[in-house]
Symmetry: C2
Subunit: 408 residues, 2 copies
Amino acid sequence: MYKINVGLIGFGTIGTGVVRVLGENAGVISKRLGAEVVLKRVADTDITRDRGVALDKGVLTSDSAEVINDPEISIVIELVGGTGAAKDFLLAAMDRGKHVVTANKALLSTHGREIFEKAGEKGVDIGFEASVGGGIPVIKALREGLVANRVESIYGIINGTANYILSRMTNAGGGFDEVLKLAQAKGYAEADPAYDIEGTDTAHKLAILINLAYGTYLPFNKIYTEGITAVDPLDIKFAKEFGWRIKLLAIAKAAAGGVEARVHPTMIPENHPLAAVDGAYNAVFLRGDAVGSVMLYGMGAGMMPTASAVAADVVDICRNLKKGVSRRVSPLSYCDNNLREIALKDIDDIELPYYLRFSAMDRPSVLSRISGLLGAHNISISSVIQKGRKEGGAVPRLLLPITPWRGK
Amino acid sequence: MYKINVGLIGFGTIGTGVVRVLGENAGVISKRLGAEVVLKRVADTDITRDRGVALDKGVLTSDSAEVINDPEISIVIELVGGTGAAKDFLLAAMDRGKHVVTANKALLSTHGREIFEKAGEKGVDIGFEASVGGGIPVIKALREGLVANRVESIYGIINGTANYILSRMTNAGGGFDEVLKLAQAKGYAEADPAYDIEGTDTAHKLAILINLAYGTYLPFNKIYTEGITAVDPLDIKFAKEFGWRIKLLAIAKAAAGGVEARVHPTMIPENHPLAAVDGAYNAVFLRGDAVGSVMLYGMGAGMMPTASAVAADVVDICRNLKKGVSRRVSPLSYCDNNLREIALKDIDDIELPYYLRFSAMDRPSVLSRISGLLGAHNISISSVIQKGRKEGGAVPRLLLPITPWRGK
């Protein structure tokens, strides 16, 4: 049978998953592909730790150059992560004519232009399905399944840690700090959770989705990003009273005057399909002008789901190699010569429903003064709840929510 | 720019959608594809009716042979439907070396083997994304995005008519006949609704999903099929009391001793993602051994969503044509030489939780006699509700549900 040699750099959790899925499912993969995928070399700085998977002797190396420079290897998988060595590995592999697969959203949303231009220049394929939504085939959907659509909007729950924390606060109660500690204890949050809870990881992934939807190289730091650290159990409680759920959403919208791109906690109606996406699950809800609403849902992280996406990219490239072609589909959906800079709308120019919560002294005319101030600034009020004095409490709460996002 | 000529046979609702999407989104399609898709000929028996879309003079013909025999046409789209003329058109087009695209689930699940073998013999591509789940890219997901997975199970809500009726009975009440009439008035059900409400259409689509998941040519009539005509408002009411929703599910499971394949009304937990799939929406919930649970959700029918899928197939084939290749991905996911007959489990050999509803005279020991009979047949009871005498009614109801499907 036709054989295709693959090399892997980065033998951590996802790397171990890739070794497992290519080994355990070799049978079904070769029956579908009509070729054998051979994992020829695996490089990692730690080659002694037992990952619980068997590798033939001579496969493991501590020298990534032995993967990159191996003339028999056609596809290099980069699972090192970060924007340092990973970038060098990818560029070096492409320079040697290797096709590459990566799950590295930080790298692609920071140095995407350089990486994708190198792939174009060298005529190699670059797969990155695992960079957004773990095992959910959302990148393939944007690039192929929905290729005939203008993408009107994208709403994504694409960070499992943040979604776990908000879901837990909603369903079981508890304050942010307490639930974060629980998430860390359960392995759903890193010891340093900043990346996830401050929205950075979500912005990385949104940048990649926007690049695919609109044919551009948007760096993630152009995206307005607000995390979930300020979400109070009271906000969740009040949202529930109004029939809403609070989710950290990645939002992109094609709008007059540019694309809206933002990451922030958002109230969504409790009967919206995204509202039911709980725990570590991810989902991307898209609107295309022809297809209407589409949602893709699944595990957004984890060893085996992410490895499923990496392996799918490998098979995709193998299907090209078998036919002697490359770059059959442009990596960013649009042909390279049709990629262009897009105008992003400034967050200050975006008009949105907004939710405001005030704590005020229980004195007459507080509400009228607040609403008067809002009116003076041309902000209209959709609905108001005023909660009375808490037992024994001195500070009653006043709630002024302005209709939140309607799920359009 | 590189041009690819496409012909269309069948200018009905979906055909009109295809003309629209290829026209209205020609710009974005060519930017992504790097080629122009030209709709050269459109054939239909009715060439006078105004479909509200503009076609250049000379495109429309009443003779399908003018599409099939046009040497400049590379891809023929068949949207005639049914298993008669449509089959002849597809076979004739493939005989002339054309690649084909179809939305015809009845044809593919009845004469699939003949159609797919012809495509293999002629070395042409056959796209059928629109045959299951309308615009949802579920076939591409099974064939490519989840290619590295063994498919453990598939649960699909893949008939919009049946789902509309059950959703309406659940959310607004009403008996089956009454809600069916409403669905017909709203255009969600055909004048002859048998295909949809008796589960046949669902079985057609399930056969296609099974063929992709397990590499076979299963004709739909091997699938145990039960429609929704016997679902009573009482069943829906009792299901709700237990925290379940009733949906018409297409179910496939890889099991010891063969694949389970069945279509029937099923109780699913109200917090399962499928329970929220309401109205005319479709969803396919899959479990892969690596990826875990994945759900794809969207409009399962309708002019533009279905056209979105047809156009995606056209672009997929154009991407091959541009590179001078064909059959890069095997139509049924598995390479032709790896397709094989699969053993289906007989419905009588499948052990399942089941729901039973009895109406009985209000006499002592009725419950004990029923449960005794069940016990004598080795059927254990998970939970029981006995409802008392209805006001003024003579026949009290006795409910013996045996725990329904657990969403595994």
